[in-house]
């Protein structure tokens, strides 16, 4: 199928493309800014469109959704992506980390990705769909009389798909991989794209655009260094596992025979992995023993001020969401916005760090496990990770806080630390750092301003924005969350409205658009 260009143009004031291979050359890649002629000379066709979002996941979706509401037509936007549906990558990661569609997520009722107004939230929708006021009551009384309401994963996917259809998402998606974003001589940008095979005549095509939005999600998952070293050395990908990668075979094996599993990490992903293992014990008779290794072991309160501390128990720090709620839109958001550099980075660590949700069902399982001995906790730092003599298990030698050395032989090691790779691992981001004028913030991610503009990348009237986890360390803590993606999109859309690209979403437009949303009519 031939890709439908938004608008094919012969490059402005220039002769039509001649010659060239349709691919980049080393010489071109070494040139920080590109001219129209450069691309013509390489036989790379240029397409004009004002706005390009790179990624096509939930972050791109949130951005495009708001711009549609702000009056931008679908023809003026392109989403370059490896996905058909915006929630695909998320679904994949969620499934791997043991969140199937019927399980509940870790964000609140108002974090509705399909609806920038946040109302009606997931709780009210679930109450209406089930004709049961229970969830509405829960959201009204959370977290005082009930635990926080959190939506089922499946509900999020469905609502995103509905909204994607409403805004004409599929007409904006071009499938393939973005190779690089370069500044254009004379202003604006080129987004160099490798379309999916068979969808274009040349290997590469370029989008010439005034606005670029980058939402590429996680640059990659990362292992704990000692586990990565083990994997590299012994090429063992079956016993040492990352919770974000497919690892179902381990749970299947646990059903077949009694096994010992070593779990590393004490965040939300660890909670889910433990739940899966204990559910299997409870429901299908698995006889798994869990050894849970803690690097730090908070117990009691974390923080010494009565006005700034959170509960911790048995090695876990507890809070409902990744950050305190007001980091998304209250006191803490404003405090953070005023901080710079290392101070900001430290404050984000205090608010976040490793933590999990205080769910009663999880705590019940762990307390029972500790009591009955199938769940053991251990503190210490890892000294070595090696195969056992018979090669069937992996032996982890741990130095405990009081200086002893302990060996743990396990059939599986699950790394649930959720470490993310550095942004340089991503080709587009690395390129932006090398050639695009971007630099890093104290957390090693993209340095963005309050409006999520990537500092240093301006190109004449061109603006480059980013959202999602690649901007962590900036002026907003919850960047890698549904609500954070929507917040970033709203800030970006407001900045673009100030430059005249779209309409400002004032009360009247907002209400008019909400009624269109409610009736499932195109924006």
């Amino acid at each position: 199928m031939q890709q439908q260009p938004t608008e094919v143009v012969s490059p402005r004031h220039d002769p039509p493309p001649t010659g060239g291979s349709g691919d980049v050359s080393d010489a071109l890649m070494a040139k920080p800014t590109w001219s129209d002629h450069d691309l013509i000379g390489h036989g790379i066709p240029i397409y004009d469109v004002p706005f390009v979002t790179v990624g096509g996941g939930l972050g791109s979706f949130a951005m495009v959704d708001i711009l549609r509401v702000a009056g931008v037509s679908a023809e003026h936007m392109v989403a370059l992506s490896d996905l058909d549906q915006p929630s695909e990558t998320y679904e994949h990661l969620a499934k791997n980390s043991q969140i199937p569609s019927h399980e509940r997520l870790r964000s609140d009722s108002g974090s509705v990705l399909d609806c920038l107004w946040g109302w009606p939230g997931y709780a009210l929708r679930e109450a209406i769909a089930d004709r049961n006021p229970k969830r509405a009551w829960q959201v009204m009384t959370e977290p005082i009389l009930a635990e926080y309401f959190t939506p089922k994963a499946g509900q999020v996917y469905e609502s995103v798909t509905r909204e994607a259809n409403r805004i004409g998402w599929s007409s904006m998606v071009k499938k393939g991989v973005v190779r690089t974003v370069r500044r254009r001589e004379g202003g604006e940008y080129f987004v160099l794209f490798t379309p999916a095979t068979g969808t274009a005549a040349t290997k590469r095509i370029a989008y010439r655009c005034r606005y670029v939005h980058i939402a590429v999600g996680y640059p990659g998952v990362k292992f704990l260094p000692d586990l990565q070293a083990y994997r590299d050395k012994y090429q063992d990908y079956a016993k040492v596992l990352n919770a974000y990668e497919p690892h179902l075979h381990a749970y299947e094996e646990m059903l077949r025979r009694p096994t010992t599993v070593l779990v590393r990490g004490s965040g939300i992903v660890a909670s889910r992995v433990l739940q899966r293992i204990i559910d299997d014990r409870d429901n299908t008779g698995a006889q798994t023993t869990i050894v849970h290794l803690f690097r730090s072991y908070p117990d009691g309160y974390q923080g010494d001020k009565r006005t700034f501390r959170r509960p911790a128990r048995n090695g876990w720090s507890y809070q409902a969401f990744n950050y305190p709620k007001s980091a998304w839109g209250g006191q803490i958001r404003y405090t953070l916005e005023k901080l710079e550099g290392q101070e900001r980075s430290d404050y984000i660590d205090q608010l976040g760090g490793t933590n999990t949700a205080p769910r009663k069902d999880w705590q019940e399982q762990l307390d029972r496990g500790l009591e009955q001995g199938f769940y053991k906790q251990l503190r210490g730092t890892v000294k070595t990770v090696e195969p056992t003599a018979d090669g069937r298990q992996v032996n982890t030698v741990v130095t405990t806080p009081d200086g002893y050395e302990l060996g743990i032989e396990a059939d599986f090691i699950i790394d649930a630390t959720g470490l993310e790779a550095s942004i340089e691992e991503h080709r587009v981001l690395k390129d932006l750092l090398s050639y695009g004028g971007a630099d890093k913030n104290p957390k090693g991610r993209l340095n963005v301003d309050h409006d999520f503009l990537v500092r240093g990348t301006e190109s004449g009237a061109g603006r480059l924005y980013a959202s999602g986890s690649i901007t962590l360390g900036g002026y907003y803590a919850g960047v890698d969350s549904f609500l954070g993606l929507q917040y970033a999109s709203l800030r970006i859309a407001d900045a673009m409205a100030a430059e005249g690209f779209c309409k400002k979403i004032g009360p009247l437009r907002s209400a008019a658009q909400w009624t269109r949303w409610a009736r499932n009519k195109t924006p």
Binding site: G110, M140, I144, G330, I332, L490, S510
Partner: protein, 147 residues
């Protein structure tokens, strides 16, 4: 909700204005009058005095709430708090009205006051917890501030 101090004040006044005032206009007309001689303007006099008191005394309440909020790690104000704070606030407003503050109304029947106060309080609470965002999508990110 995750209000800031100025967001609290702004939200209180804006909601009283855009929800409280129109609703009070309706309630004054439709709620049963206590005596045969009570006129519409008598009703409005008491009701709007109550509304003004909710606003003015509310400044003190918000300072107290804000103080209490500091002891919450999340720096949030759970939805249910927004509802139950109506109880102390209602009591104080009634006592003030009954003691002739801001001016003498004569006897204010408690049942009439309760009907008006509860309806207005719940309406504001419901609208603040969602529908308001239909018009003000940035409000929830701004700690309840409008400007």
């Amino acid at each position: 909700m995750t209000p800031t101090l100025s967001g609290r004040m702004q939200s209180r006044f804006v909601l009283l204005l855009i929800v409280g005032v129109p609703l009070t206009l309706v309630l004054g007309a439709v709620l049963p009058r206590p005596t045969a001689t009570t006129t519409l303007s008598d009703m409005y006099e008491v009701f709007f005095a109550a509304l003004v008191l909710v606003g003015v005394v509310g400044i003190v309440w918000e300072l107290i709430y804000h103080g209490l909020q500091q002891f919450r790690w999340e720096k949030d104000w759970p939805t249910i708090f927004g509802l139950v704070t109506g109880i102390p606030e209602g009591i104080v407003v009634y006592l003030l009205l009954d003691r002739g503050f801001p001016w003498e109304f004569g006897d204010v029947p408690i049942s009439l006051f309760l009907q008006m106060f509860i309806l207005v309080w719940i309406a504001i609470w419901l609208i603040a917890n969602g529908p308001l965002q239909i018009f003000f999508p940035r409000w929830r990110y701004q700690g309840g501030r409008f400007i």
